[in-house]
């Protein structure tokens, strides 16, 4: 479980987050949604410890991240996996070396054991046999899956995903969502996804918080979205005329 406890963040005069309180539950896919500029990425970076809040606390179970020194934060981070919006795969390394990197750095395993773990992770994301390729030699969707494989190679307790579906076609985006959701269930991870993909909201949103202008304006789950009367959520989720029609139809049945 990760808890955002009254998080404020300002850049000079500009207040990006204005007191966010939210609990990201273990074993669930927790979504942070909101329009561009709502403060989603800043919140995610604060939760993962890449940015310090101006005020407030971030609790990893019973540990306050904001009071820890750099060494302690690094120890917590060894339980964290993260999928970046741009994948952040190391260009000069092969896929195998990318996935192996955290093990090379922190684990005292034999090369054979590491390779077996890499093969397992690649198989889990349906990418067997691409070990020797470089990131530039595979597609964007495959890069995302390699990013996921690298994120869970050390069996993390917490998984963060920043815009996992950005730049992907709808079918690949669904595959990525399903993969993240099934890995979360399998390893009982606390997964936090920053997204504005409506399909993700409706398919894997087990615990959702909607940010608007730095404030938490709605929280719930995917089942509550369709029947919401929250204006902010309505205007965000059902922004397109097509989705508005679909919603009308669903509600009329």
């Amino acid at each position: 479980m990760i808890r955002a406890d009254n998080i404020f963040k300002s850049f000079g005069e500009h207040n990006v987050l204005k007191g966010i309180d939210f609990t990201f539950e273990a074993g669930k896919t927790n979504l942070i949604i909101g329009k561009s500029g709502a403060g989603k990425t800043v919140l995610l970076k604060i939760l993962v410890g890449l940015m310090e809040p101006t005020d407030g606390h971030v609790w990893y179970d019973n540990v306050d991240l904001c009071t820890l020194g750099k060494k302690e934060i690094r120890e917590i981070r060894m339980q964290v996996g993260m999928l970046f919006q741009g994948n952040a795969l190391f260009d000069s390394m092969t896929i195998e070396e990318n996935i192996r990197f955290p093990m090379d750095m922190f684990k005292t395993m034999t090369l054979k054991e590491k390779r077996q773990r890499v093969d397992f992770c690649l198989e889990r994301v349906s990418l067997e046999g691409i070990n020797k390729k470089y990131p530039s030699e595979i597609s964007g969707g495959m890069q995302k899956r390699v990013g996921i494989a690298r994120a869970f190679v050390l069996n993390p307790k917490y998984l963060f995903c920043d815009e996992p579906n950005s730049g992907l076609d709808p079918k690949t985006a669904i595959t990525i969502d399903e993969l993240i959701s099934s890995i979360t269930d399998e390893y009982n991870m606390t997964t936090i996804i920053n997204t504005h993909d409506m399909n993700s909201v409706m398919e894997i949103g087990e615990n959702i918080c909607l940010l608007s202008d730095g404030l938490l304006v709605w929280q719930g789950n995917m089942d509550m979205v369709m029947e919401t009367d929250n204006k902010e959520l309505e205007s965000f989720i059902f922004a397109s005329p097509f989705l508005q029609k679909l919603r009308k139809r669903a509600l009329s049945k």
Partner: protein, 249 residues
């Protein structure tokens, strides 16, 4: 404005340096990275050092030969001048200024590119001390490779002087060789290595700092690379002067 920026950078640099020398998470990974960096800096710069040293030696020989024509100074002095010019000045200082452009810009853009592509964030999330892992091997690599390159530059400078003067008939081979063997002061070689070591530290620290703290996009990355070269060059010249004063007292 400039002094504020300088103070901000200097303060941040002082706070950052202790992070670089924290205990490595995995010695083997650091060792491999150090070998790679030493190779990149050393082997990667061989060609440019070769060309520059040969030509500087050649030009020094020709220019001094021209200056001394018609005087009573014996010809063998040319070899002596070329040798000491190479050891004291051109090998450590000019080579380092050139390496600041080649190696410094390379380091700044490599680390800066990693910052922009979120590679540094990705490593931080894994629990890697990126200040140490990305910077320490480069500093060690520079400190090993640059003095070697400077040694080579000193030898090639003397060779360049020979190539430009003896085969062309400017003066006799025996004169040049006599000059190379005359008035040798071993302390000059010590000075050369002290300078090379200091300049290697300047180039690596400045370039890593500029790359590590880059913000923004490709324009800012270009500016950071340029700043790495300019600041390194200025600091090399200042350090050269200070070392010259200190080591020749």
């Amino acid at each position: 404005m400039f002094s504020l920026r300088f103070l901000e950078d200097f303060g941040r640099f002082l706070l950052w340096v202790p992070q670089i020398f924290k205990k490595p998470e995995n010695w083997t990974m650091y060792y491999k990275e150090t070998i790679r960096q030493t190779y990149d800096i050393g082997i990667g710069s061989l060609f440019i050092v070769f060309i520059i040293s040969i030509f500087i030696g050649a030009v020094t020989a020709i220019q001094f030969s021209y200056q001394m024509a018609g005087t009573l100074i014996p010809n063998f002095y040319i070899g002596y001048i070329v040798r000491d010019m190479s050891i004291i000045a051109s090998a450590p200082t000019i080579t380092s200024i050139v390496l600041a452009g080649k190696v410094g810009a390379n380091i700044a853009s490599e680390i800066g590119g990693m910052r922009q592509k979120e590679h540094i964030d990705a490593m931080e999330i894994m629990g890697v001390n990126t200040s140490a892992y990305l910077v320490l091997p480069k500093i060690i690599g520079a400190v090993i490779a640059i003095p070697m390159l400077v040694t080579l530059a000193a030898l090639l400078g003397s060779l360049g002087g020979y190539i430009a003067s003896v085969p062309t008939g400017l003066f006799q081979q025996s004169d040049y060789i006599t000059g190379l063997q005359s008035f040798f002061v071993p302390w000059n070689v010590v000075m050369m290595y002290v300078k090379a070591f200091a300049f290697a530290l300047i180039i690596s620290f400045v370039s890593c700092y500029q790359g590590y703290f880059v913000k923004g996009g490709s324009i800012e990355l270009g500016e950071a690379s340029t700043r790495a070269v300019v600041v390194s060059d200025i600091l090399i010249l200042i350090a050269d002067y200070l070392l010259a004063v200190l080591l020749t007292v």
